[in-house]
Structures are given as C-alpha cells and as structure tokens.
C-alpha cells in the first residue's frame, strides 16, 4: 500500500486489513513515536466533521508530522469556485499525503486520480469511509480476540448507513453470521447482501432488537435519521424501537460489546455507558491507532518495534 491512495474498502485485500490492524496494535502500545517528523500531512475537509478530522490530526501529530489544511470549505478558495482538481493539485505541492472529506460521492476517487501524492478518503458523501471500517474491524478483533466466526448484529439504519455497508462487506472475509435489525424501510440493500450471498454466509433479518441480543458477540448500533423518512409519522413509529437500554443487556453473552460509529443521539441510553460491555468510546480511541497505521503504511515508514 506504500504510496497508494486509500479510497474504498474495495481497494484493499484481507491481507492489507491484517497488516494495518497488526501495525495499529504496535501504535496502541506506543502511540508517540516521532517517525513522521519529516512529513507534512494535509487535511482537506470540504464539509465539517470535527470528530474525524481531530482523530486524523491527533494520529499525525503524535507521530511528529506537521498538519496543514482547512476544516470547512467556506473558509477556503473552494468557496470562490475553484475546481476540486485545482485544489488537489495545489495542496499536493505542499504535502506528502492528503486526507480528504467531501460531500460528493466519488470525489475521493477522482482526487486520487489527479493527485501526485496519495489520498486518504475520510468520507465521500454517502459512499465510503474506509478508515472507519478498519477501526471497526480493529475494535471487533481486539474485544473478541479474533475476527473469525463471530455473530454480529447491525441495528438501525442499514439502508443508508455507509459505515454499515463497508463493515458488512469487510466482515464477509471472516465467516461472520449477520443479524440485521432494522425497520422494513431501512433494510440492508440487496447490493450489499450480494456480498454475503457470494460467500454463502448466513444472515437473519429482524425488526425487533431484543430477541437478537442474547445471540450475538457484537451489537453495532447506528442512528436513524428523520430525513430518511418521507412521512414523519413513519419516523415517529420507529424512532424509539431501536434504543438500547442497560437492562436489555442482562441476557447478553459475556463477551458481547456494543459499538457505535458516533455521534449518538438517543439510540444508546446513557446508563449503558458504565456497563463494561459499552465499547464505543474505546472504539473512537482505536481510530487514532488505526489511522497512525494507515499513515505510516502509505508514507512507507517503518517502526522499530
């Protein structure tokens, strides 16, 4: 992956995932090593995403890299009508790698084609967010000791949730059994189910959350957004049906962990936070180590164990 862009989870192999996760473990053991102090990292956020940007900037800074960029297109030349190509070509003169978030789908692929330096996709509209997917895999592997043969439940908006789609596809490499819990309007699209079927893996669909909890190793919660519903009555009907409360975890397996890409609104009540099964804040922390591993890999820098 040295000098290559990371645009989509489809670009990398199972072998690549594992190399990144193994390297991330080393960074977790020692996150502050000045191995990137000769590098400049650009973070171009054409739409704001404070959480993702800070995670990347923390990852880069802890490794000694200089970080340049913008956090909102309204404060940059983009607002003056500069084309994406011109912005990328300009910034590539100033940096060794470009981390980019953009509201349009396909923007990161295009940027990677015009940029002379590698591009890391930090979210292109509703399409891809590969570093989120890798940090999810890291969190699952870390809490379950292995990625193989797990029962994983996805809850909430499975239709539009970009993180869900990428993670489901990545998990098809690990003999996962999928438990898909959503309102009928927000079921996992057939374009994603296709990947499960191709590997002959099992999946079960549910509309109720409670019955799935005792069966699974991971509960991956997501937010249901009101704008996904044409009729606000439909939203009212489902909005409270997929809320995880602490007492619902009583019959869960001991190894179960609750993940969420964050930010949450109300889909996990705060009484879950103190349950040792709640893992979503650790998951966000793991994002830093995984992003360090991705930066080091793409920039071709080795670490001394």
């Amino acid at each position: 992956m040295k000098n290559k862009s990371l645009v989509s989870i489809h670009d990398i192999t199972k072998d690549d995932y594992e190399k990144i996760l193994n390297l991330a473990e080393k960074f977790e053991a020692n996150p502050r090593q000045k191995i990137l102090d000769n590098f400049v990292v650009a973070t171009l956020f054409f739409e704001p995403s404070t959480r993702t940007r800070l995670s990347f900037e923390s990852a880069a800074s802890q490794l000694g890299a200089r970080v340049i960029g913008f956090s909102d297109a309204s404060t940059s030349s983009v607002k003056k009508g500069e084309s994406l190509k011109d912005t990328i070509l300009t910034v590539s003169n100033y940096s060794d790698v470009i981390i980019m978030r953009h509201p349009r789908e396909g923007s990161a692929r295009y940027a990677s084609e015009v940029s002379p330096v590698p591009v890391i996709n930090a979210g292109d509209g509703a399409n891809q967010h590969p570093t989120q997917c890798l940090l999810d895999l890291y969190s699952i592997r870390k809490t379950q000791k292995s990625l193989e043969n797990l029962h994983i439940a996805f809850i909430g908006d499975l239709k539009y949730g970009r993180t869900v789609h990428s993670l489901v596809i990545a998990l098809t490499h690990y003999n996962t059994t999928f438990h898909l819990v959503s309102p009928v309007e927000l079921k996992l699209p057939s374009s994603v189910k296709r990947f499960i079927k191709e590997k002959n893996l099992e999946y079960h669909q549910y509309t109720e959350l409670e019955e799935v909890i005792p069966k699974v190793d991971i509960l991956y919660m997501t937010r249901i957004q009101q704008e996904r519903f044409a009729d606000s009555l439909d939203y009212e009907r489902v909005k409270n049906a997929y809320i995880l409360k602490n007492k619902m975890l009583e019959n869960a397996k001991k190894n179960l962990r609750v993940l969420h890409p964050l930010p949450r609104v109300n889909e996990i009540t705060e009484d879950v936070d103190s349950n040792p099964k709640a893992y979503y804040f650790n998951q966000a922390k793991n994002g830093v180590f995984v992003r360090q591993a991705i930066l080091a890999t793409i920039l071709g820098v080795n670490i001394s164990n």
């Binding site: 989509s8 994406l84 349009r104 789908e105 396909g106 692929r109 295009y110 399409n127």
Partner: protein, 168 residues
Amino acid sequence: MAKQNIRIQKTNIKLSGSERKELKVSAIENGTVIDHIPPQSVFQVIRILGLDNIPNQIMIGTNLDSQKFGKKGIIKVSNKYFESEEINKIALVAPSATLIVIKDYTVVYKAKVEIPDNIKKIVKCINPNCITNHENIPTKFIVIDKADLQLQCHYCEKITKKEVMNFI
C-alpha cells in the same frame, strides 16, 4: 481493426438476393456499415460514435424495411474502421445492431455488437450527488451485468440501470 470482442461469423459472404440489391444501391468501397439499428436509436448511434464530427462520407438510412425487425436504421461510413471498444458502446442503445466491415466492396467481418466491459463518457451517472455531475469529469463505468445492463460508476460506486440510463 482490433479483433477482440468481435466474433467473426463469416468472411467473404455470398450475398443473398435482397442484400445484394441493398448493397448495390449504396455500396461502399471501404469502410464500416452498422446495420439493424432500431430507428429510434439511429441518431444516438451517430452521436455516440461522434459521426457528426468527422469528414468521412456517411450514408444514413432509417425506417427501412427489415425482415427481422420490421423497421431498421443503417449507417454506412466510408474509409473508417472503429476500435471494437468504441463501436461496442452502441450496444447500449442498439443491442441488435450488426457491424459489417467492408474492404474493396467485400464483407471481411460481420458481427453483432457486444456490450463492452467498461463504458466511458457517454452515459450520465444516475446519482445526483456524484462528483461527475458537479465537476467537469468524464464519466466512467464498469459493466457489472451485461444481460440486464447495469453500470457501476467508477467514482461514486452507485449502479445505473438500463431503465434510468441517460446519455450525455
């Protein structure tokens, strides 16, 4: 003339009576004939192949009688041979079309067009939020289903299906 994707059915075909009559009327010495085009697609084929921008002699016929299709269109381009990848683009609008290559008044290749593996420039991405619909970027698709004609955008990864396909 690239040979990949072109099935050679016959060479030096003996012309049957009706074909002989047609070719006599408007035979070309050297060039390419695209036959069996659905009449409603004739002008799309012209545009897709960029025939409106070349200096060659072109004969266009449409609403001609066809035994197989009822009505058909035909385009004859003198002194022009197409790359198979290029000519196969017309399979998107004219899957029934036949490509005939003529050299020295003789049919040297005759093959049905085939849908290619990749489609560049001619189709619009269905996703309104795709970067190709907002910046000056030529579109690019991978054909993921030839029978049902489904194109996956190289950029946004969304699938454009036959029923909603728009041409640039």
